[in-house]
Amino acid sequence: MAAITLLEAIRQGLWEEMERDERVFLLGEDIGVYGGAFKVTEGFVGRFGEERVIDTPISESAIVGAACGAAMMGMRPVAEMQFIDFISCCFDILRNYAATSRYRQGIGIPMVVRGPCGGGVHGGPFHSQNVESLFLNTPGLKMVEPSTPYDAKGLIKAAIRDEDPVLFFEHKFLYRNPKIKQELPSDDYIVPIGKAATLREGRDLSIITYGAMVYTALDAADKLKEEGLEAEIIDLRTLLPFDREAILESVKKTSKVIILHEATRTGGMAGELTAVINEEAFEYLDGPVMRVTSIDTPVPYAPPLEEFFLPQVDDVLKAARALAAY
């Protein structure tokens, strides 16, 4: 079996779920005849028809609102945001309707809203964002971001089968990256939501990360090894609800923590994880929890500006060395 890209893994996951369960349907902009801006759903309309692969107007609120209503009625909608930046356009529906439904009225919304996130492709301020912190403070939603083809396929299936609304972030820098291709098992597997993965074991410090930054962390860990530092890398995979046990276990083991994410710094995932570590593993720490993140600006377009904006391997190394000195 050939190795496949992260994009192809998502495509396979969607396809297999649609074959398996006729309640699953897709809706979004340009997803049908054209197959989606990134071609994730290419060929789907031919196999599943226009009723299950719906080309919609440019109306994110109407798209996600329709997904909510259909999910309440027993369907399993998967809505595509052409770029995840546009999810802000349907913030009301997600925050006020989808996230509150089970609590208010005892009715779950088994819906997936998926789309490409992240920078590194010179997409500028509106095609490069990471939006997880907009929703981290919204009880009732789940958020997932895979970093490998294996996880992407297993998590998209788990998200579709989940009883609650799941935001599924697909890092576009990883979509077709040939370096991360994997051969996937041919059986029907899922990757459970809420479970992190330890990508690399180490005793000296923990790097907690997710999405494309996983590869920045791995590169940094290779360099740190040359300096005699063994970094452990935790890939969160699920951002909400995040895997407290895996985080705390690693922190207790290494006592030094870097939280690395591509989203901007203030009010980000790293702040929340730092608070949890502070509350629950304070006495294990041998230094401050360090944040390595993008800077607090919109995502700039020009390559040198974007490179400065995004966390780089060197930024991780600096943080690791500072931490090692404690």
């Binding site: 909510c68 529906i93 089970r102 009225q105 009715i107 009883e163």
Partner: protein
Amino acid sequence: MELDKAKQLELLFFMRLTRSLEDRLDNLYKQGKIVGGLFRSLGQEATAVGSAYALDRQQGDMLSPLTRDLGALLVQGALPREVFANYLWRASSLSRGRDQNIHITDLSRGFIGTISPLGTLIAVMNGVMLATRMQKKKAVGMVYIGDGGTSTGAFHEATNFAAVQNLPLVIVGENNSYAYTTPTTKQMRILNLADRAKAYGMPSEIVDGNDVLAVFSSARRAVDRARDGGGPTFIEAKTFRMRGHAAHDNQSYVAKEVLDQWRKRDPIAHLERALAENKIASGGEIEQVNKKVGSILDEDLAWAESQPSPVPEDAAGGVYAGDTGKPKAVSAGSEE
């Protein structure tokens, strides 16, 4: 479609039930038993009742009312005791004390509670109708929006989506002349909400929202069209909000003469007059309706007041499937 005597009396019953129920809610609010806000539909009962009456509950028709559509909710099958219990934040209420006023839902009876941001439920009802269509059901949906609500982005996105998808949906636009304190002249530069529908290629009708029979006829045409595959319809019901936005609002911004004028067009008096003038029902029969409403409300309010309140810890849990709630975190490590 002509309604027989029994059905016309039933329309009267639901309008009376709505008004008297809200009168009692008003009292409970003044007694401090209802907290938060109290939203009345005084003067608009015909719009809510007449439109919902056109749905066919046997066919699985679905309805999502706004706060001023208590009458529609009652027609669709919600019980006065459920409305009392929710307003009185009882543990056994449909929202279990978690949401206000008539934000209550029961999919099996075909009603879906609204949320406070306006226009959102049109988008949600689109999905409900997409689902029923995929499930090969012949259900029709009805969803409500006010004059102010038609200024939201969600309204425009969702109305357009309904039209493009040719969904079996009836959108009832209640033009009660005010959005909180803002008159429609400051909401839009058109006289009729129905003009909005034209932009989406959607058929529309304008109806006297205080004439329950007229509202019913218009809604029935729209429901029939939707069920026959003719797609969505927008109905503008012209009416007037006879109270402030909520109980705290004394409506000082509305001229007394305007209110006096609309008071003469009271929807309940209008139907009662028609029933008498056309010799459809006697004064005694109309009085019987009032008595029936009174005894139902006595019984249902007593039931609701006897129900327990939620315990504080009921605030936790139920956010996700299988979520039974956690103790409140008070200090480091307490969540473990």
